[in-house]
């Protein structure tokens, strides 16, 4: 009962703080000229960019609140916070000076350092069909790489209004469900504490967006999600719930032949006609989740985001099924 009250309070603190920050940040970003063009709208409006700062600060406040309220997990929440902040610094640098398609993924790997130096890693994850595996050699390497890999994967799905935030909320909800089913105390606390800031950010980022996350928001969120999965020992469930992310990341890297920034791609994955988005008919165009969803029918932005949500929900159910039947 106490845990529910504490988590409810942390959720409210995270939500209200992020909401208030965004309310004051959006007009300031606009007046400072920090704007991004919403290319998927007919009139191509300019939207406040780098709203991810508010999300990062919201995550920071909720993790500090958790570490004060529940002393047992303060090591976990502070490690999660360090990993998120390192990714935020790299994202912020990329927003300001454009690190390029190769340096950004390389630098974002630094966000894995807090995990391997925290002493909280347990190299015996529970895997489907295997049970508790002994991965003393590989696990620390995987734990180091994962936050960087997922921060770039999240960055790749931050292409439509509300897509990154809503899909991340779905991932966290399913990780919460699996944590509740398995009685994973750390998992319940870490996943629930991130929902408040993320839901507040979604309110301003959903269609039609009032703010974009920027690289600071997407890289830090990706690192935060992956660190949560590792610290809460939800690795396999996270990998399965994030399958649409893995598909997008793998397909983009494989189809463009390496790490490239959006502006470095010669062909765009989709074409925009008014408010309708459709896959680029050129067979050499990069393959992304959005281009697959719009292969034969042009769709409006909210519908594509809704369909991507559906794919994440299906992946979430597959993760629950895998946990219940194969683990």
């Amino acid at each position: 009962m106490n845990l529910i009250i504490v988590l409810g309070a942390v959720f409210i603190i995270g939500y209200v703080f992020t909401d208030l920050l965004l309310r004051s940040l959006i007009p300031r970003l606009k007046s400072a000229g920090i704007l991004g063009v919403d290319v998927h709208k007919p009139n191509r409006p300019k939207i406040a960019e780098r709203g991810g700062y508010a999300l990062v600060l919201g995550i920071m406040i909720s993790q500090i609140a958790v570490s004060i309220a529940i002393r047992k997990v303060h090591g976990y929440s502070l490690t999660l916070l360090c990993s998120t902040l390192i990714a935020a610094v790299i994202g912020s640098l990329d927003d300001m000076i454009d690190l390029g398609g190769k340096l950004k993924p390389a630098l974002s790997l630094l966000s894995g350092f807090p995990l391997i130096t925290s002493g909280l890693l347990y190299p015996r994850p529970i895997l489907p069909l295997i049970g508790r595996a002994r991965l003393h050699y590989v696990y620390p390497i995987a734990a180091f790489l994962l936050p960087g890999v997922f921060s770039n994967a999240i960055n790749m799905i931050d292409v439509l209004n509300g897509m990154m935030a809503s899909n991340s909320i779905i991932i966290l909800l399913f990780l919460s469900i699996i944590s509740i089913i398995s009685g994973n105390y750390v998992g319940i606390i870490l996943t629930a504490s991130l929902l408040g800031p993320l839901m507040a950010f979604y309110r301003y980022n959903k269609y039609p967006a009032k703010v974009f996350a920027g690289n600071v928001g997407s890289l830090s969120l990706g690192s935060c999600l992956a660190s949560t999965a590792i610290l809460a020992r939800l690795e396999a469930s996270f990998a399965i719930t994030s399958i649409p992310l893995l598909i997008t990341g793998f397909m983009i890297i494989a189809s463009v032949g390496g790490f490239k920034e959006k502006k470095e791609m010669v062909l765009r994955p989709v074409e925009v006609d008014g408010s309708i988005i459709k896959a680029n008919p050129d067979p050499r165009a990069p393959i992304t989740l959005v281009s697959i969803l719009t292969l034969d029918v042009g769709k409006e932005e909210p519908r594509i985001v809704l369909e991507s949500n559906l794919l994440f929900i299906i992946s979430g159910f597959l993760a629950v099924i895998t946990y219940l039947l194969l683990t």
Binding site: I130, I240, P244, L246, F250, P281, I287, D296, S315
Partner: protein, 78 residues
Amino acid sequence: MDRGLALSLLLILTAWSLVILGLYLIAEALIPLGAQGGLSAKIAGILKVVGAFILLGALLYAWFLLTKYLVVKLKAKS
């Protein structure tokens, strides 16, 4: 349901199988590496791990090629 959404669902199901198979292959290959003591057993274990990664890489690449083929075919049809 349109073909794009249907293909996405198919990709998710195949990727799910690949994730489970990949985790299984790597974990199965790694377990003897930690358990066995002799040098030859260690070398055999390392080769098994390398083999598991190569097999997984080949499966992923085949999955990508199949997806690319289906995407191009569907684009041509529409």
